[in-house]
């Protein structure tokens, strides 16, 4: 079975053994624990059975985690080392890890504090610098004013500072003010695109008149009550302050980049805290009384032995049962060998529900073929396959990332095979290069045929592949109907369609094989069509319902037509890669032969190839998925399964190995 068989586990244990047990259970990492929230509704039991939520512990640990993750983020930001393409978890055995944590914990805590502190000082410093820069920008226009800024008046005179719009004529303003207050001294301090900065000194008793005159010009008074000294002095002071803060920031940056040596330990601490948080949190999913605790959950059947061994060791009461018929079971896929990486495709859609079968094994070969056909360039295939192979060798990838890369590795191989069959090696690069640079004719012959010259042949081949793909999907639906004890559904809904569709193909195309084929095809289609007409409405009530039901299902033939035609994209996208490659090569060859020509050709080739691979691999990926999800899955698959999420170590940086060999 490709969907892992699950068993239901129910456990009652002594509270005294709970903490060590949870430790061990996490280490096994094979049991999913169901939340018991809202399970006990009975008034009678409520006072005795409770959920210890541990929320104080959990939130304390959450706060710690947030602090440590801030520290890691801060260190990463100022870490000058190059970051690897994929983050890989470091492998450790359990004892090593605990010993390491004991040894380094105190120091690491201090480092975390230092990192958080430095980071805070850096951000605070940057905010302060921004604030000061704002003030400086406000003071700059007043730089040439040689009055202390805080000065508003002297014994007899008043000082007024402010701005008017740059559209105002200064002369007019000057005249108007002097008319009203002859004692005033009006100065234009500076001007920019928007504003004119003006200082006015006048006798105190004339202040009102001056203000009146200014109002006509929409004068906007400004006060610098908090500033000390002349603008020049203040500006200088602020610049010194900024410099000091910058130095402090720099010092803290250095602290952080020095801490990058301790980053590994901080990451360990992060994972350790996360595990502790998860352990504290899981208790909230259990029920407790004063003496015992209870939980239930799911585990894969093949993990039963080790879980039983653990439970026996703790002398807990447990029961392992098969799931009930209508129970929702968490889904875990397990496919061997070639199919494994294609689980990624199934995952991206939705996991199989209880009634579905795992489609991975069936979609894998088609995905492999379709991707290759759509990209179909031998050289691109080699590049993709080798690239993915290097990634797989260099990084110890896990989970979905591993599956994706492995899948693209296979797809690269497929691309290579189809490319060789259709004669695409960087499009027609070698032909063009030979012609342009050496003036010789050189052609890599396709092993099968060239789709550019015989597109109809490939179109028909694509549609046949599509028909096979659809037939497999329908066959799976028939299998599921029979499995669920509805063989008639399989016969009527799938068998008759097989008859009709194959019949139609024979009727249409069998003539080239022999006249008998056409007759046979005709007979088959008629039987199939009549059968569908009669049985299509069998679940409907009344004569009218049955007739329309039958007609309705026969009309479904348009669906099959569009499904099959959808596979024409195999041809179209394959052509797109080939022709775009050709465009690139032709562009490159336009500069002619010689050294210059060779350089132009090479540049066009390198950039063009990168572009073409990127855009067409994306296309091939998306459209291969589409053919699976829409055409193939549409025939039999519903999805909607809940992924199996065992209680395990969800670590980001380290991977604790199990000392003894366990189930995969």
């Amino acid at each position: 079975m490709a969907v892992v068989e699950m068993r239901k586990l129910t456990v009652i244990g002594l509270n005294s053994g709970r903490t060590p047990f949870i430790h061990e259970l996490m280490h096994l990492g094979v049991v999913e624990i169901n939340s018991q929230e809202g399970v006990v509704n009975d008034e009678e039991w409520m006072p005795d059975i409770f959920r210890t939520s541990n929320s104080a512990d959990v939130s304390r640990l959450e706060a710690d985690i947030a602090r440590v993750s801030t520290a890691i983020e801060a260190i990463n930001r100022f870490d000058t080392q190059k970051k690897p393409l994929f983050q890989v978890r470091e492998e450790l055995v359990r004892k090593e890890f605990t010993e390491h944590m004991d040894r380094t914990k105190t120091e690491t805590e201090m480092n975390v504090d230092a990192a958080v502190m430095s980071y805070k000082q850096i951000t605070d410093g940057q905010n302060e610098v921004n604030r000061l820069k704002g003030i400086i920008a406000g003071l700059k226009p007043w730089e040439s004013l040689d009055l202390p800024l805080q000065m508003k008046e002297t014994e007899f005179s008043a000082v007024i500072l402010g701005t008017v719009s740059s559209k105002t004529k200064f002369e007019d303003l000057l005249q108007r003010v002097l008319e009203k207050a002859p004692s005033a001294v009006v100065q234009q301090v500076s001007a920019d695109v928007q504003q004119i900065y003006i200082s006015i000194i006048c006798l105190k008793e004339e202040r009102e008149q001056v203000n009146e005159a200014l109002r006509e010009f929409a004068f906007n008074p400004i006060s610098f009550a908090e500033q000390k000294g002349t603008p020049k002095e203040a500006l200088k002071q602020y610049e010194i302050e900024i410099e000091e803060i910058q130095e402090k920031i720099l010092a803290n940056t250095r602290i952080l980049s020095d801490l990058s040596a301790a980053k590994k330990n901080i990451e360990y601490l992060y994972d350790s805290l996360n595990m502790r948080r998860d352990r504290a949190k899981i208790v909230g999913d259990m029920l407790s009384t004063e003496m015992v605790f209870y939980f239930d959950g799911w585990m894969p059947k093949n993990a039963q032995a080790e879980v039983e061994e653990l439970l026996n060791r703790f002398e807990f009461y447990y029961r392992i049962t098969e799931p009930e018929v209508d129970e929702e079971i968490p889904v875990c896929l397990h496919n061997g060998g070639f199919s494994t990486p294609f689980e990624a495709v199934t995952h991206m859609y939705s996991l199989p529900s209880r009634n579905d079968i795992d489609p991975t094994k069936f979609l894998a070969p088609f995905y492999f073929i379709f991707f290759g056909m759509m990209l179909s360039d031998a050289a691109y295939g080699i590049i993709i396959a080798v690239g993915c192979w290097i990634l797989l060798k260099k990084f110890k990838l896990e989970g979905m990332t591993y599956r994706m890369i492995k899948m693209f590795f296979y797809c690269g191989i497929s691309t290579f095979m189809w490319g060789a069959l259709f004669g695409g090696w960087f499009g027609d690069f070698f032909t063009v290069a030979a012609k342009t640079l050496f003036d010789t004719d050189f052609v890599i012959k396709p092993i099968w045929f060239d789709p550019l010259t015989e597109p109809m042949k490939l179109l028909i081949f694509s549609l046949i592949l599509g028909a096979i793909h659809l037939f497999v999907g329908m066959g799976l639906q028939a299998y599921m109907s029979i499995r669920d004890g509805r063989p008639l559904d399989a016969l009527f809904d799938i068998g008759l369609w097989y008859l009709l569709l194959i019949g139609l193909v024979l009727y249409g195309l069998g003539g080239s094989v022999g006249a008998a084929m056409v007759t046979v095809g005709k007979g088959m289609s008629i039987v199939g069509a009549v059968g569908i007409l009669l049985t299509g409405g069998r679940n409907k009530k009344g004569i009218f319902g049955k007739i329309t039901g039958g007609l309705g299902s026969l009309y479904g033939i348009t669906g099959y037509l569009s499904d099959v035609l959808s596979y024409s994209r195999l041809l179209a996208l394959g052509l797109a890669t080939g022709v775009v490659a050709k465009v690139i090569n032709t562009l490159g060859s336009l500069a002619g032969g010689g050294i210059k020509g060779a350089i132009v050709l090479l540049i066009a080739f390198v950039f063009g190839t990168i572009f073409n691979i990127a855009i067409n691999a994306l296309g091939a990926f998306v459209h291969s998925c589409r053919l699976q999800y829409v055409e193939f899955f549409g025939k039999f698959y519903t999805g909607g399964g809940r992924p199996f999420a065992p209680f395990e170590r969800k670590t980001k940086y380290i991977k604790i190995l199990k000392e003894e060999k366990n189930h995969g």
Binding site: M348, S566, L575, I615, C625
Partner: protein
């Protein structure tokens, strides 16, 4: 003067031009998707790679247009060293007709796909794990551009010059 507008050569070149118009659709589509992408990245810069993939999807129509335009140019000898070959009006008109599907469908499907991609980008903004579904929604639109490309290609391929 008027005759030259109906010459085979001119019609064929107009065909190449019409095919290349598919780029209008891609430009608008990628633009619309890009606006949405910038919005998502402003919230979470880490999603840049994911949304960039989605933004690239409506770009294919332009490539399909280029592809047909290129094949037309190769067919009429514009890209070889020997200059353009002589075409009858019927041949030129045929080439022109062959270019229309991808040119027209490219424009409208590119715009529609751009909108679907933008919606997919919003989806990724909220649920990063659903990238594949967002891509699929946009790819559903592209089907019709692929079909138009195929029609254009098969028509062009069957015209004898």
């Amino acid at each position: 003067m008027v005759e030259s507008l109906f010459s085979g050569e001119f019609l064929a070149l107009s065909g190449a031009a019409v095919a290349a118009l598919a780029g209008i659709g891609s430009a608008i589509g990628v633009g619309v998707a890009g606006e949405a992408a910038a919005g998502v990245v402003s919230e979470d810069p880490n999603k840049f790679g994911q949304v960039l993939l989605l933004q690239a999807l409506p770009g294919t129509q332009g490539i399909y247009g280029l592809l047909i335009a290129f094949l037309v140019m190769v067919k009429v000898g514009l890209l070889g060293g020997n200059g353009m070959i002589d075409l009858t009006m019927i041949q030129g008109a045929g080439i022109f007709a062959a270019a229309v599907p991808i040119g027209l469908v490219g424009i409208f499907s590119g715009i529609a796909q751009g909108k679907a991609a933008a919606a997919g980008i919003m989806l990724v903004g909220k649920k990063p794990s659903e990238l594949a579904k967002g891509m699929l929604f946009a790819a559903m639109v592209e089907t019709y551009a692929v079909l138009a490309l195929l029609v254009s290609f098969l028509m062009l391929n069957s015209i004898q010059v």
